[in-house]
Symmetry: C2
Subunit: 151 residues, 2 copies
C-alpha cells in the first residue's frame, strides 16, 4: 500500500538550513528561513509567487526578487529541488527522499507518493551510455477532487 506524504515535518528545518548555510559560508537570514519553511511546510510544490504571497503575510517587506534568489540558493545548498512540470512557472519541492508524483491532468496538482514496489524498479541494463542517478515515476491521471467535480 502506498504512503501519501502529509508534509515535511517542521522539525529540524531551521537546523538543516543553518548547517548547510554555515558549510557554504552563506548567511541565515529571516527571509531564507521563512521561504524554506514555506516550501518545507507545503505538499503542493509551490511556485515562487505562491511562496511570496504566503510569506509576505508575515513579512511585508519581502520582495519577489528575494524569493527567486532564495530558491536558487536553497537549490544550490541541496535543500530543495525544482520539480519538472509542464506549466509555465517554476515549482519547488523540499521533499528530497526518493518519491514519485501523481499529476492531475485536470487541475495540474502534483501530489507526492512513495511505494516500496516502485522503489525497487529495475532499469534496463543498457541505456546507450546514459549514467542513471535516480528515478522518478510520474503517474498522470485525475485526482479525487477533480473526479468529484465531474459528477
Amino acid at each position: 500500500m502506498p504512503a501519501m506524504r502529509p508534509r515535511t515535518p517542521p522539525d529540524d528545518v531551521l537546523e538543516r538550513l543553518t548547517a548547510h548555510c554555515r558549510e557554504s559560508g552563506m548567511k541565515v537570514t529571516p527571509q531564507r528561513i521563512a521561504v524554506y519553511r514555506a516550501v518545507a511546510g507545503s505538499c503542493a510544490h509551490p511556485t515562487p509567487d505562491e511562496v511570496f504571497h504566503e510569506v509576505r503575510a508575515d513579512m511585508p517587506s519581502l520582495s519577489l526578487a528575494t524569493v527567486y534568489k532564495t530558491f536558487d540558493c536553497l537549490v544550490e545548498l541541496g535543500l530543495i529541488a525544482r520539480v519538472a512540470n509542464d506549466g509555465s512557472t517554476h515549482r519547488y519541492d523540499a521533499n528530497l527522499e526518493p518519491h514519485h508524483h501523481l499529476v492531475c491532468g485536470s487541475c495540474d496538482s502534483i501530489t507526492d507518493f512513495t511505494d516500496a514496489g516502485l522503489s525497487r524498479l529495475r532499469l534496463p541494463r543498457n541505456l546507450d551510455g546514459f549514467a542513471p542517478e535516480k528515478v522518478s515515476v510520474q503517474v498522470i491521471g485525475t485526482c479525487e477532487d477533480c473526479q468529484d467535480d465531474l459528477r
Copy 2:
C-alpha cells in the same frame, strides 16, 4: 534491452494532421503542417523558439505567435503533448506511444526510451482516490556526451 527511439517517422504525419483537423473543424494550414513536421521529426523535445527558427528558414513569414497558437492547437487535437521539464520554457513531444525519459542533469537534454520491463510497472492499488491514466518514468542522470566532457 531498451529501444532508443530514433525519431517519429515522417510517414503519415500529414494524414494524421488532416484527419484530426477535419474531425474538429480546424483548418490544415501550411504553418500547422510545418510546425507539426518539425516536432514529429525531432527527438529533442523542442521549444517553441527552436521550432520557430527551424521552420522560419523555409517559411520566412512565420511568426512566433503562430507557433505558440499552433502548439496549443496540436495539443488540443491530441497530436503532441507538452513535456514536463524543470526549465523555463515549454517543450513538446510528438511521440505519443508510452515511453520514458532519460533526463541529463548536466545539459538538460531529454531522450526517449522504452522498455518492456518498465511498461509492465505495477502501480500501488490505493492511490488515495487518484485515477491513474498513464505512467512515465524519468531517469535523471548524465548522458554519454556530458560524461565524455568531464574527462
